[in-house]
Symmetry: C2
DNA sequence: AAGTGGTCTAGACCACCGT
DNA sequence: CGGTGGTCTAGACCACTTT
């Protein structure tokens, strides 16, 4: 005999708005509510990167949903790369690693399409008021304090990248050269480890420019050589703009790779 | 009393290889087998683009899986954009539309980040043997017949794109100017409608070049102006290379937009 | 052996769409 | 109204990892 399932009191997970019969305000499905609730706890840092989450039956119980519904939420979080599930081990909050950062946030390849980890050298690091353009990109007031880094990067020994990075100072207290010295590559690992900021998403706008002055010198190309300029804005898990990065790439021996699917 | 579920005879969906106890050859999960089987039928054209699929219970029955498992496969196919499910209506094989193509395969935006549908004008259309570079990009023998199109495109009235498109002639029998005339924009809609070829995936490699000769003229820029060159290869549902497209973009008023997440 | 996530099933009921 | 996909639940069993 199949037990009549107790009718869920249409309560939703939190204070979900009651569906009005006349307007089309549909309450989100339970699995979506569970997903967002877990995502928020991760964004808040309730569970630190690398930490193990409670077992699924317990999470289901806490959230008041069935195991199947909870699993649907977990699958979505895994697709969003917020968690990693490993059979027999448990579920863990995703931690940024060089490999992850390289895979997801680095799009530069050699002419054969292969990806290599770049090496970096800092040229300059200071804290200064935001110029209008940086302020706009980071949705800050003009003049807000920004940590600003200039660095060059080389791939397989050949310098092909110069970039300028701007960070809201209030999000990265104590950010300075010494912090950078110990790990100048894969900054996103450093952001997470030292400042608790996980980059979740970024957007890049590309244009073609001509190499000028110091950039031409650093890249070892003639004045006027065409370069790709990549203007990136990055958001953290909570949806805050946390970085603006302007990268200039010499495409003599490298390409910017973009997958469309 | 809960009926003891009849043990599935470990048969898999087709002739799935038996798992050997010593080597790590795991048979794919049922839902993955179902997904691939359905994907293959769609790629083969058993169900045409826009056609309605059989109802889920029937598909589950045909494939010999439970409704829940079938739904998991369908959800994956929907994420891959091979099908579209509409509550109360049914499930349909995804059909290419201008909007879809624009959304998924067009990455060029104006300085405010807005996307506009471009207009196109064909400059040249002929069938000729493949040059080495095109042959390599399309994995064809050098000298294989290619349909080749050159066209300009304008966004919001200003010409900012010139591109060259190469198609394996054997995949597009009868492709010629007249075919193009009736729909010169959103070629992927045409590929699907007139040649049964659905572009499923593409890859773009970007470099910076200097505008030269006719390109500079068409784009209305000075010789040497930096442009972005986009070298795209496109694959169809069956994984065949079906198009190579080399696009040159004037980035004075436009950007190439790339989302990382 | 104990504990974890992974797979698969079965079925009730809801929401939407067309007739 | 009948048919479709969408949500949610419940539970058995499998596979993997650690102790």
């Amino acid at each position: 005999m199949t037990a009549r399932p107790r009718r869920r009191a249409a309560k939703g997970l939190a204070a979900a708005p009651r569906p009005s019969p006349l307007v089309a305000v549909r309450r989100a499905p339970l699995y979506a509510q569970a997903e967002e609730m877990l995502a928020q706890r991760i964004a808040e840092g309730l569970w630190q990167p690398g930490a193990m989450l409670p077992p699924e039956p317990m999470l289901a119980e806490v959230l008041g949903v069935s195991p199947g519904t909870l699993r649907k939420a977990m699958a979505a979080l895994e697709r969003r790369r917020l968690i990693e599930r490993r059979q027999g081990r448990g579920t863990f909050v995703a931690a940024e690693t060089s490999e992850r950062a390289l895979f997801h946030f680095f799009r530069i390849v050699d002419l054969e399409g292969r990806k290599h980890a770049p090496t970096s050298y800092v040229l300059d690091c200071r804290t200064a008021p935001a110029a209008a353009e940086d302020a706009a990109a980071l949705a800050l007031a003009e003049g807000a304090a920004l940590h600003q880094v200039r660095r060059g990067r080389a791939i397989a020994g050949s310098p092909c990248i110069v970039e300028r990075i701007a960070l809201p100072a209030w999000l990265f207290p104590g950010f300075a050269l010494p912090v950078l010295r110990e790990m100048t590559d894969e900054l996103y690992v450093l952001y997470q480890r030292d400042f608790g900021i996980t980059v979740a998403r970024a957007e890049e706008r590309l244009s073609a420019i001509a190499a000028r002055g110091p950039d031409a010198l650093l890249l070892g190309v003639a004045e006027g050589t065409p370069l790709i300029e990549i203007d990136r804005t990055a958001w953290d898990l909570a949806g805050r703009r946390v970085e603006r990065r302007v990268t200039r790439l010499n495409t003599a021996a490298h390409r910017y790779l973009s997958a469309l699917d």
